[in-house]
Symmetry: C2
Subunit: 212 residues, 2 copies
Amino acid sequence: MRDVCGEAGLRAAPPASRRAKNFEYSRMFSGLERSDPKISSTLSSMRVLGIDCGSEYTGFGVVEETADRKLVCRVNGAIKLKSGTPMAAKLEKIFADLTAIIAKYQPEIVAIEDVFYAINVKSALKLGQVRGVAMLAAASSGLQVAEYSPLSIKSAVVGYGRADKHQVQQMVTRLLGLASPPQPTDASDALAIAICHIHTAATTNRYAAVSR
Amino acid sequence: MRDVCGEAGLRAAPPASRRAKNFEYSRMFSGLERSDPKISSTLSSMRVLGIDCGSEYTGFGVVEETADRKLVCRVNGAIKLKSGTPMAAKLEKIFADLTAIIAKYQPEIVAIEDVFYAINVKSALKLGQVRGVAMLAAASSGLQVAEYSPLSIKSAVVGYGRADKHQVQQMVTRLLGLASPPQPTDASDALAIAICHIHTAATTNRYAAVSR
């Protein structure tokens, strides 16, 4: 497991209410409330673990939206799976590494890509195995899993649903103010998934606040 | 989780050598050695957990081949997954239940179905998630995973690779001397997978013994 971004700004585990099974973004991240500079500094931040599942590399990235709405990368990297290793042993490593990342970086939610097309049945089975174990790592740590289509992720980060991996990597680098692009692209894809969740939660909660 | 067959014949955990990561059936289950009645009673038995992965029901069955080559069912049943439950919670239940079954019935190996055709991509992803978690449950308990195609499983149990679920259920009932057919069919499919592994291991080891 390779990870970068440093550990600056690590904090204690969020309170139980923030790790609750039910989403409560509408109260926590209301866009109307946050736009008020008088109170924005007192609002909670949001920390998300994005996972890009793959049968060779599984990317991960923890992104935090701070109380003043800045996006900060806490860690990113990829779990490399040695070819020739039995699948069960690969899955064991993914589970152990993701569980360790969750314990260390304390995200409040896990976001993963929801893929259900453009690949064949054999690849889908392999990818599904990794996805299952990633979802289990989240659930075992008491975290919800949010799923986003590749179109939603690219639209949220690049503004164009058919963007390629290189474009996603460049935009992730700019949005998070990184010194160099995250490597491999599985890591930048994972960060993009986390950013997508933060954007989506903010939009949902703005809408919820307006509808009240 | 529903299980039947009783707990008769439960024994202590097999020694570490039998739970080793490397297969050593050739020495343990040599067909030539076993055919000698003078020593067959002193030979080890073999206990296999078969798992039939599914996104609604995940069947399981523990089959033991005793030292005198009888096939005995130690437990069988199915883990039912409530529709409407989030996938991550379903996977958490499957993992917990399978881990508990492994701890209680102490199989030496886990056998699962290797499916890679005849289903669409969406189903393959769902099935893959359950498979991944089942394989992780095995690996976390220090057990190897053996995979068999549906054709191999049906051929080993019914003698016909295109047999239907009802035929598999009937043959499993006869082979294991059960009072009634295992229910649901996911449970009988899981027992069939375990029986397939026992047959295959016996054949492999007979061949290995002859080749020596």
